[in-house]
């Protein structure tokens, strides 16, 4: 599993990264967490509010920092339906 945390390094982005790492650890996932701070790269995902979370190249979350439990649900098989609801 390839996880990317998109954000310019603001407090929220750091919190999201920390919580994601916790969730990954709690689930015992074999995942690589990468930080993306380059604005061009962030914008390329179509994200306009940071921080955002990308799992296997799909944006699953933007502009919010969920709790660790919610991140666990997100990482643990909940279908990533957000992307299907494109306008």
């Amino acid at each position: 599993m390839n996880i990317k945390v998109l954000g310019s390094g603001c407090v929220n982005c750091q919190t999201l990264e920390k919580r994601t790492a916790q969730a990954v650890q709690l689930l015992g996932l074999d995942a690589h967490i990468e930080k993306v701070t380059d604005y061009a790269a962030i914008a390329a995902y179509g994200v306009m509010t940071t921080p955002a979370l990308v799992i296997d190249e799909r944006v699953v979350l933007a502009g919010r920092v969920p709790k660790v439990a919610d991140l666990q649900a997100l990482l643990g098989g909940t279908p990533f339906t957000l992307m299907e609801a494109s306008p």
Binding site: G7, S8, C10, N12, C13, Y39, A40, I42, A43, A44, Y45, G46, V47, M48, T49, T50, A52, V54, R58, V59, V60, L61, A62, G63, R64, P66, K67, A69, D70, A73, L74, T78, P79, F80, T81, L82, M83, E84, A85, S86, P87
Partner: protein
Amino acid sequence: MTLDLHAAPLRQSPWRLWGGLGAAVLAWVVAYRANGPLWQWVVDDLVGVDPNSRWGVALEFFTYDSVKILLLLGGIIFAVTVLRSFMSVERTRSLLGGRREGAGNVAAAGLGVVTPFCSCSAVPGFIGFVAAGVPLGITMSFLIASPMVNEVAIVLLYGLFGWKIAALYVTAGLAVAILAGWVIGRLHLERFVEPFVFENTLRGQPVDLSGPLSWADRFAIGRDEVRTIIRKIWPYLVVGIGIGAAIHGWVPEGFFVRYAGPDNPLAVPVAVGLGIPLYSNAAGILPLVEALHAKGLAMGTVLAFMMSVVALSVPELVLLRRVLKPRLLGVFVGVVGVGILVVGFLFNLIV
């Protein structure tokens, strides 16, 4: 189909949800009403300080204002955040796409107020807007209005100066955002935007999280926001109110009329200049400014200072430099700065 982030832990009966909200509103109203008499009683009778002495004035200002501002902030941030959860940056962008200048600037400034947007997202937001074809000037109107007409500033102005000044500030802030964006659009400065913004091919689909959130979700978001903001600003608030209290107690009446009254033409530019390096500490600065105003600092000067603190800040300019070339950044500062100066001078004339 939705990603239900809060559903599991927060599945509450509607009675508990709305009953809880009602109880919270009631407690808030009672606390707000009791705040003044309570501190008067504590300071005058319990501690036994003469209310007309320096310590009496300062203590009452400090205790009363701290609690009042915290209550106002908590209430308004919650309400605004819940309302804003119906909007998203993505929806705003699609509303602004294809708008013409003029009406587009007005719409952008208005949407800047109601869209949930944090200045840390200024750059991705800018790229997202411009890459999607929203004209530069209209994007600028949004980016100027969004931080300037923000809920913390409005709440503090209302709490310290009353609703007339708060309304004046909102009107003036919108006017500056609309006009500054329009001017930047008219100047056709697109070539001074960093080229990668336009080259950007949107790989991902735009994410819209304003989807079917439940009321419980929206309340949870509101609570989180109140906690985050208050945790962030309370030290500034306490220091600012502390200095304000000292000014109330020890600086003589009319002290600033001599130096920074309405007649001094330098007061407004100096206030704007001082405001630029100060960032997002509206919470800390306003109680201080209120005290300065009480001792004779002119209203227009106060508002101009406030606007320059929240709309023009060094950290934000550093961020925007990533997408704007120095020329355009300079124009941005110049146009917004001039707008704020005009607001300051106008208000010094009419208020």
